[in-house]
Amino acid sequence: MYKGIELTISFWVAMSMSYAFCFSALYAYATLPDYLLDPNNTAQIKTTLKLSTIRLMIVSLALIAYPIVLFKFFKYAKYVTVALTSWATTIYIDDYFVLVEIVEYPDSGLISLVQLSRPIIILSLIWMSFELTFRSQTEV
């Protein structure tokens, strides 16, 4: 069906993990408990929710666009993957080193789980980038 795309199983596993993570993040923020949306929340939580909404919009766009790029414009898939990897790493570094005084994630079970599994998605994306980059180099 998709001639020319011969990626290893580990790539597909990494991609599935990334998709699973993104969908759980979307689900976690879409089903936030009512008490977290209280206007009396701390300023940090309000800011975090505002920032998370914008990030999740970008994630949704990436979830839709990535398969299109992978199957239709495979030549550019490595650049898109590297860009997404660097974005995931950047926002992780931002949250834990740069915006540490401003951002405070709500204390909800699923959100905490999503936060804890962020390094796993970064590793998955790094693997995908490596495979796409070095695979295309060996093919040339």
């Binding site: 860009a83 974005w87 950047t90 570094i93 931002d94 740069v98 005084e101 401003i102 980059t133």
Partner: protein, 164 residues
Amino acid sequence: MNEKDTKNLEFATIFGNTPSSQSKGKDHIVQSSTFRLILSFINLYALITIALFFLIKGNLVAGVNTNFLDKEGFWHILNSRAIILLVLLVFLNASAYCNYGFKYACLVLIVYMLNSAIDNAVLFSGFMHLTDRPYLSAFTITRPLFIISLFWVMIIHKYKFKSD
């Protein structure tokens, strides 16, 4: 190669007019002048931004009120961002010098700049207006120019000789 050809090649070499196929012995690629110009602009822009921040931070510019930096952790954020930008700039120049992974270094810097622009717009739009501090706003307004330059330099960068 006959004697006439050998002599022509000798003269061409002396006058620096050697055909490119014969000068491939020097194993480096000469980038276009546009590339060098844009890369210089990127370096200059980033270094002036970083230098300006550290000058303001160190109270070395007279007449600038630095109290606003203490608000809502703005100081810490700008400081961290300046250091990260400096590190990424070093990587960009190193990859340009070694001619390895330059496009990826550009891509990472573009993503970083876009992300920090979004973050700043979301977090600080409430208490900081563009007209408040023109010396900082100048860099915020011209940031798209920096990102466009990075895109441009990424596109025109050459990894190989065209004939290869």
